[in-house]
Symmetry: C2
Subunit: 359 residues, 2 copies
Amino acid sequence: MSSVLLLPGDGIGPEIMAEAAKVLDRVDQLFGLDLQIDHGLVGGAAIDAHGTPLPDDTMAKAHAADAILLGAVGGPKWDAIEAGKRPENGLLGLRSGLQLFANLRPAILYPQLAAASSLKPEIVSGLDILIVRELTGGIYFGKPRGVHVNEAGDREGFNTYRYSEPEIRRIAAVAFEAARKRSGRLCSVDKANVLEVTRLWREIVTSMAADYPDVELSHMYVDNAAMQLVRAPKQFDVIVTGNMFGDILSDEAAMLTGSIGMLPSASLDANNKGMYEPCHGSAPDIAGRGVANPLATILSAALMLRYSLRSEAALKAADAIERAVGTVLDQGLRTADIAEVPGQSVSTARMGEAVVAAL
Amino acid sequence: MSSVLLLPGDGIGPEIMAEAAKVLDRVDQLFGLDLQIDHGLVGGAAIDAHGTPLPDDTMAKAHAADAILLGAVGGPKWDAIEAGKRPENGLLGLRSGLQLFANLRPAILYPQLAAASSLKPEIVSGLDILIVRELTGGIYFGKPRGVHVNEAGDREGFNTYRYSEPEIRRIAAVAFEAARKRSGRLCSVDKANVLEVTRLWREIVTSMAADYPDVELSHMYVDNAAMQLVRAPKQFDVIVTGNMFGDILSDEAAMLTGSIGMLPSASLDANNKGMYEPCHGSAPDIAGRGVANPLATILSAALMLRYSLRSEAALKAADAIERAVGTVLDQGLRTADIAEVPGQSVSTARMGEAVVAAL
Ligand SMILES: CC(C)[C@H](C(=O)O)[C@@H](O)C(=O)O
Ligand SMILES: CC(C)[C@H](C(=O)O)[C@@H](O)C(=O)O
């Protein structure tokens, strides 16, 4: 028996989660996974129901579950809420509370969707980058933080970008291991020419390279990385970086494919317990209209089976889901975000059902 | 009489500066600008000569000059130098010492170079974005900063991201004014859903909008901005953001054009005194080979004439330089970075001389 917690969240979250749940039900039957599926509230939905973005009940269920599948959180409805109590704090609280320090964000171009990219085909064809983002430290969690009145009598906001040696070591180890399993190339991204914290990052990552003689390590400044991703993204295989730079670069890299609605992500702790989410956000502008792309969430469920549940049956189910997604793409099914011809698109539910049928 | 300080810096800096100096000499003669040109050392070149990236002599000359033209600083040669004494600190010291808080970085696609972009022509044709980056605050200068041993006994690096209300107001005012002179659209980029300092940023920028009723203000999270620049860059006109996000996004935006070797930048104080530099870096890999593109530096000289020297003759000279650059592009002259056919390119000096001839 494996226990899975579904957290739909806000915006398009509930719609896309409903389709992923159908897919999980189906592979449960097909592969005898014996899944025990529970549900919880997080983000704006939890604020509306319980006045807090991460109710104790949700946190308890998250601790108890073997793995978590999350939709997305946030939206303009909750924009006026004070810092620390916003929908995003539900997500950040889960990441931190479960010590999910390793965020794996693949940016893969599906050959069927090559035309969706805003880049020239020769620049992005075959693109397959893995961004390893540190997820429980850095400026997202650093203290002190807040807004105060400074010595000059002016209001001043401040946050602290902080990394300790063990935090850097454990995320770098994940990245070195991932590079070893892929092409053997790892690029660490920092701003070591300006920020002391990333100078320490570079020093420690460099010192670890000796333990991974089969991995070719390089370093790049974040501004240059943002540029090189546009210029020649295929130069990268695995990129490792901190929480904030990883947030920015993984979204940029995802958009190179033109189909961010296709990209799953995994956030893992030291024991492969994980939370899985689509790379895209809660898209409040299209929420409730049944047009969102559920495939990133469905593919996140596949990653969950592969990385966290890990039984032989779970691995087979993961493969089956990924194959089924390939099949529906081959069939020409497209939600609006990836449709080549505007208007020729299917609904969220139709896409989910097509994946179920293809299983 | 106007005094101009030339700071070639490192890497390709001296080569590209030599061409910009020829152009300045020529417009001086043609338009009777009465320029008094001085030279100084900064960055690695200053470290090699004087053991410090920003000698007192350079700082004194910079204070005395009406405007400064800078090449680029930094390179692997000085990578092992401790934080605070690196080539980059020369540049940062100039920005901060002269209070050049407003960094204007245009990302313009030259029609003649449209093919150089890695994006599809329809996505970038006619691209003309202005990024207004705060340059003397934020995490670049925030204290405390450094590396220490924390309570757990581990080494830990830390930097502080800090903005006060007056700092935010003055850069936002520059951006509102710039938007007013352009299309009237301003997008402020922050990470207000996570970082308190950028929540204050958003609050203050929002509160200023009432003073600019002719400007349409929007807000975007930095991860989304990095994505939208790839997806549909022409949605932007003026972008305003802090020092670190501006560093990343301006390089990304510059690379959308495919010809970062063409892009100048201006860094201004409250009285339009300024330092002007190409958007690109010191490119140590091609330094000394006479292949670098001098046009970004030459166009930076034009911006210098327009924004800082500002006499009628200086404005005419600025126009003339920009026209001359257009002429050499029309003539088909290309340095290696923008050459369509590899091998069919001209040298740095040849390009500089062609601009002089076209004046
Ligand atoms: C919603 C937000 C807090 C989050 C982040 O910044 O980490 C999101 O952008 C992401 O990348 O998962
Ligand atoms: C050289 C470096 C310190 C500088 C910066 O980060 O500001 C550069 O990248 C730039 O954008 O001008």
